[in-house]
């Protein structure tokens, strides 16, 4: 895309209609184009009206499930004033992002772009924000990695950063879970499993940040659970892995 093309991409961008590579290039362009940022904000609000126009009636049990689920989900801390980015880790500093991108390429996970630009982040989804957090764990100076086979033939990699108190799981070759099931992650707190979020494998490989702090967990597991996840594992784990030893 040349510059003129980039300017006209605002519409495709807010409709999430740019292929990955072009989206990244466009977000790069947004950094230097205040007029484009303004247009993106207005057109995003316009697209949202198209969404509101097709509102549906959610089944009442969805609310129960969501409210039940959030009680176990740790919220992200608010941004620290004076610092537009999160105070917990300087997760978007450039060297880290560059390193994260290399790591991302190394583990070749699809669907999650970690090398994004902070300038465009207002317009991005939280899913991608999570990718940035994931990148911070992958790029942490103290990150330790273990890889193992999964019971269904794929392989899993655990990345642990004790400094950040977080862990990430990268699966490759993982089969789709049956029906409306999902994969659920667990921290292994000395034999007690603690829910750490669910994921659905994307094409090729999937990287997921475990919800919650490492705490005293010595390892992690993955099970197949009904959509929305369970409070305790209800199936045999497809993976059980110990965290890498402290160094």
């Amino acid at each position: 895309m040349n510059d003129a093309d980039l300017h006209t991409a605002t519409g495709a961008y807010v409709l999430n209609a740019l292929p990955e590579e072009e989206r990244i290039r466009f977000e790069h362009h947004l950094r230097d184009c205040a007029a484009c940022r303004q247009e993106v904000a207005e057109l995003s609000a316009t697209a949202a009206r198209l969404g509101q126009a097709v509102a549906a009636v959610p089944p009442p049990e969805l609310k129960d499930r969501v409210l039940h689920h959030i009680a176990t989900v740790r919220q992200e801390p608010p941004p620290v004033s004076g610092d537009r980015f999160s105070g917990r880790v300087r997760r978007r500093s450039l060297p880290r992002l560059a390193l994260a991108a290399c790591l991302a390429a190394a583990v070749a996970f699809g669907g999650v772009a970690v090398w994004q630009h902070q300038e465009a982040r207002e317009a991005r989804s939280a899913a991608q924000q999570q990718a940035a957090e994931l990148a911070a764990v992958l790029a942490a100076p103290d990150a330790r990695v273990t890889t193992g086979k999964l019971s269904d033939g794929g392989s899993g990699t655990v990345v642990v950063s004790r400094a950040q108190n977080r862990a990430a799981f990268v699966a490759s070759g993982l089969a789709d879970p049956p029906g409306d099931k999902v994969y659920q992650l667990w921290f292994n707190d000395g034999g007690r499993m603690r829910a750490a979020g669910t994921f659905h494998p994307a094409r090729g490989a999937t990287a997921t940040l475990l919800d919650g702090d490492l705490g005293k967990a010595s390892g992690m597991g993955v099970t197949v659970e009904p959509a929305g996840g369970s409070r305790q594992p209800t199936t045999r784990p497809v993976a059980l892995m110990d965290f890498p030893a402290r160094t």
Binding site: L15, A41, S44, A45, G51, P58, I70, G110, R203
Partner: protein, 196 residues
């Protein structure tokens, strides 16, 4: 026994300042505020996700993920950058599109024939949309677009197609589709009186 009103459509309640205030409270861990915010946004979230994904089971799962994500990342919401509804629906659309593309990639991408098969986007949308006030406004404004613009915008937004897929489907040059998407949204913005 169902509580009265449970089966009723939530309707186009104005997103207003309420949703912004609620989201700000949610960012501070207020679960009750989240419950109220849920009532405002869950209908649009589920409706939009379902429109893109089609499969009801998968749609509910993705809608649930999005709503939990709202809770998790509420602190990232910045009221000066847009409304709460826009923030939530941007996230919902992104998730739905990611999901539809991931499953498409698994089936080697859809053939042109398959794309054509699931094309009657606008008619279907206008039918469903008609019943609501917000829907009526949006429909009237969609009607103010040229047919070409409308076609491109609805295929991209409600079907989750990339502009390249839209171009392939309509046998148009890439640049033309990109321009139509932008011009269509600008016209829609002006018709709806949207300000960011």
């Amino acid at each position: 026994m169902e509580a009265p009103g449970v089966g009723r459509a939530p309707g186009p309640r104005p997103a207003g300042p309420d949703a912004e205030a609620l989201l700000t409270a949610v960012a501070l861990g207020d679960q009750e505020a989240f419950g109220q915010l849920y009532d405002l946004v869950s209908g649009p979230v589920l409706g939009l996700v379902t429109r893109v994904l089609r499969d009801p089971g998968q749609s509910e799962e993705v809608a649930q993920e999005v709503l939990v994500e709202v809770w998790r990342s509420a602190a990232r919401f910045r009221p000066d950058k847009g409304s709460a509804m826009t923030w939530v629906l941007t996230m919902a659309h992104r998730r739905a599109v990611d999901r539809v593309r991931a499953s498409q990639a698994r089936t080697e991408r859809e053939s042109k024939a398959a794309l054509l098969e699931r094309t009657p986007a606008y008619d279907e949308v206008s039918e469903q949309v008609e019943a609501r006030l917000e829907g009526q406004r949006v429909r009237r404004c969609l009607g103010a677009l040229t047919e070409r613009q409308r076609e491109s915008v609805t295929l991209a937004y409600y079907r989750g197609l990339t502009y390249r897929e839209v171009a392939q489907l309509l046998a148009l040059p890439l640049g033309t589709v990109k321009t139509r998407l932008r011009d269509g949204l600008i016209r829609l913005r002006d018709c709806l009186g949207v300000t960011a």
